[in-house]
């Protein structure tokens, strides 16, 4: 009865070919996403605008101020002359950080007292504000350390009491700390969860809306044959999409690929089957294309974006939501792709993820077949 499956596949392929919008959608959107996340969306803080309100105007204050642009994280954007300007700079979003140096700054330092400086950060976008505030604190602390070592050598205590610790940081798996390196392996999990289910869902629900699915139910075709026939073309498209993203990532963005390619392709095949099945599952419980699309968005794209560790680290979520992430296959798949591409590890460590993905696919496929069968009898 295999020819029946091929009949459905062939029919679907002809429908896809007739509809250039769908096909171009399947090709353009992943590339667009890759570009956006690869180069446009970056949380890296570089050249944050710094406004300075220097009431002291002394060599000491200038030394501290200069330390900011020297760090490479800040650019001096504005010289504030009146107190009212502080609010203006922040309200209009012209400065990310305002540094205020009081009039007695150099005097206090010269007398060996503690001078105070204030920084005002724009907190309306916390992730970058956090990093900006961190840089500012580190720059000021560094200034403190320098002053202290100067003071200690001046008083003759010498180096004996100065205890510098050198913290050598090294980043594993992503030495240059580039966002693209971890975004692209994660993006594979999101994209393959976003489009293949959407396209398959629409393919089935479209027939439901048009009523042609009734004709299929009265034909000799079995539910699993119909499902397999609908699945195969979209699974193939999804697999090609994956190869496209991988090629663009490795050649376009120079992302390292440390692990085994066959293992990677195996994982992808499994994941693609899983996502396409999820799409079919959604199509079996909806009747209109609009609802199907929104449901697909919320059941596949949103969770794979939010609860997979793609951008938002899982360890930082509340305990309940951490458990929730186990419900979505994207989590397992992204652990696999990052493991293979960035860490170069293989099955010896990743077998639980593979196992979970397999179990997931099997459950979804069975559920879909059962739901379709119920409609027939």
């Amino acid at each position: 009865m295999r020819s029946l499956i091929w009949a459905v596949v062939w029919k679907e392929v002809r429908e896809i070919r007739r509809d250039p919008v769908t096909l171009s959608f399947a090709i353009i959107l992943p590339l667009l996403m890759l570009y956006m996340f690869g180069s446009a969306l970056s949380l890296d803080v570089k050249d944050a605008a710094l406004a300075v309100y220097d009431l002291d105007k002394s060599p000491a204050s200038r030394a501290l101020i200069d330390a900011f642009p020297h760090s490479g994280y800040f650019v001096r954007a504005h010289e504030i002359r009146a107190e009212a300007e502080i609010a203006q700079q922040l309200d209009e979003g012209k400065a990310r950080l305002v540094l205020v140096i009081p009039p007695d700054f150099s005097e206090k330092i010269a007398r060996g007292q503690t001078a105070s400086v204030q920084t005002l950060a724009d907190g309306s976008f916390p992730p970058t504000a956090m990093v900006v505030a961190g840089y500012a604190a580190a720059i000021i602390q560094n200034y403190n350390l320098e002053q202290m070592s100067k003071a200690l050598s001046a008083t003759g205590h010498g180096a004996a009491h100065f205890s510098p610790i050198e913290l050598n940081s090294r980043v594993w798996f992503n030495a240059p700390l580039k966002s693209v390196y971890y975004i692209v392996p994660g993006l594979l999990g999101v994209i393959l969860m976003a489009f293949p289910p959407l396209l398959t869902t629409l393919a089935v629900v479209r027939e439901k809306e048009a009523g042609s699915v009734q004709q299929i139910f009265v034909s000799p075709i079995r539910p699993y044959q119909f499902i397999a026939g609908k699945m195969i073309p979209y699974a193939v498209i999804a697999f090609l999409e994956m190869l496209m993203i991988l090629a663009a990532g490795v050649w376009g963005f120079h992302i390292p690929f440390l692990g085994s390619l066959p293992l990677f392709l195996g994982a992808t095949t499994l994941y693609v089957l899983c996502t396409v099945c999820l799409g079919l599952l959604i199509s079996s419980i909806t009747r209109s294309q609009l609802v199907a699309m929104l449901l697909a968005l919320m059941a596949t794209l949103m969770p794979s974006f939010l609860f997979s560790g793609f951008l938002f680290p899982i360890f930082a979520m509340p305990e309940m939501l951490q458990m929730y992430t186990y419900m979505f296959p994207a989590r397992y798949f992204i652990e696999i792709t990052r493991g293979i591409m960035m860490k170069g590890i293989g099955l010896e460590i990743l077998w639980p993820q593979f196992l979970m993905l397999m179990a997931y696919t099997a459950v979804v496929f069975t559920a879909t077949t059962l739901l379709f069968r119920k409609k027939v009898v």
Partner: protein, 372 residues
């Protein structure tokens, strides 16, 4: 010419059709409530309790104090202690630890002698943002320790040269949740506006009833207005529970609620304008949905809702000026966090109105062409 009776009849029809789609209503409500709530809890770039392994080869008072410092900072959670090099590598590889702090032998002796004492921090870069933030925290903890140790060991405790008084404006606790709540409300409006408007018109196109509407005295403008009204009303009503959620999680509301609703209405109309324009191009429901998706995606992410605009390439920043979502996001952040009013936000309002007028002008021209 518009006629009140005529337009009321069309609005009635649209209202009935809209409210009959129960499942759609539930979905819309969910986007404005469940999704907002979930995302504010789940989406966070905060680095807290980072699973950490501490490899102590020194076993001194200094290294023990450092462990305590790292643990009590709240940023790191020392889940594993080890004295074997291979163990740290194993934990990092398996993802069981995302940071490793390594104190080499002789660390405290070097400190006592006053010679530079090296120690090492290994970070899992498979989330670069987390790694960058954690690196900053670690640096601060270690520097603090070094500073205090130096000060304490001097014969007369030395004063700090500079005391840093940091303050954060608008969102003083740096809670990403506040930002996320507003961002999700804006995203919900964008999606609901575009998709319902596009779907509402294409449905009639597919079933052919739009031709029937066009031979009636109802004009294209009246038809579009009637199509938009239900979505606008439902969208504005759905904002009420979102506001309750925002207040419940503690997001500050410093500005005027009336202004917020004004901006929301203009924004919803603008996003429906995008949907209607899509509907004039698409022939089938599938096309309409896929095209809206294709257009929504860049708009959603390039409007300062997930990451700030400043971090994007300049060309894209100019492009983002065309997105109603970007202006809306700007405005509601201003209203909620900064408490500013129209005197500062008027350019955003003007831009949204301009974008809306352009979209509707385009759609009506296309509709009229179809009728001829």
């Amino acid at each position: 010419m518009m006629q009140r009776g005529r337009i009321a009849a069309v609005v009635r029809k649209e209202m009935i059709q809209f409210l009959r789609a129960r499942f759609m209503l539930i979905l819309i409500l969910y986007m404005y409530t469940g999704e907002v709530l979930m995302c504010t809890y789940a989406m966070s770039f905060d680095v807290r309790n980072l699973p950490t392994v501490f490899a102590d080869f020194d076993r001194s008072a200094d290294s023990r104090l450092l462990v305590e410092r790292f643990q009590s900072s709240g940023y790191f959670n020392i889940e594993h202690m080890t004295t074997r090099e291979a163990e740290t590598a194993r934990l990092l590889n398996r993802g069981e630890a995302m940071a490793a702090i390594i104190v080499p032998p002789g660390f405290s002796q070097r400190l006592a002698e006053g010679s530079p004492a090296p120690m090492q921090l290994l970070l899992d870069g498979s989330n670069a943002n987390t790694a960058a933030v954690a690196q900053g925290y670690a640096q601060r903890i270690v520097m603090d320790y070094a500073l205090e140790r130096s000060r304490a060991s001097a014969a007369t405790p030395l004063p700090l040269a500079v005391e840093h008084r940091p303050r954060v404006w608008y969102n003083s606790e740096l809670r990403y949740a506040y930002f996320m709540a507003l961002s999700m409300i804006a995203l919900a409006g964008m999606m609901v506006g575009v998709i319902t408007a596009a779907a509402g018109i294409v449905r009639e196109k597919e079933s052919g009833t739009i031709e029937q509407m066009m031979v009636t005295p109802v004009t294209a403008t009246e038809l579009l207005l009637a199509k938009m009204l239900p979505t606008l009303l439902v969208g504005l009503c759905a904002l009420v529970p979102s506001l309750v959620i925002a207040a419940w999680i503690g997001a500050p509301m410093r500005g005027s609620i009336a202004l917020f609703f004004l901006f929301s209405a203009v924004f919803l109309i603008g996003s429906m304008g995008i949907g209607i324009l899509i509907a004039t191009v698409a022939e089938t429901m599938q096309q309409a949905l896929l095209v809206s998706f294709l257009i929504l995606f860049p708009i959603l992410f390039l409007s300062g809702t997930v990451v700030p605009l400043e971090s994007m390439p300049v060309g894209l920043q100019y492009l983002a000026a065309l997105s109603p979502l970007r202006h809306y996001m700007d405005a509601i952040l201003g209203i909620f966090f900064k408490g500013v009013g129209l005197e500062i936000l008027w350019p955003d309002l003007a831009a949204m109105v301009l974008i809306g007028v352009a979209l509707f002008g385009g759609s009506i021209v296309r509709f009229k062409r179809r009728m001829r």
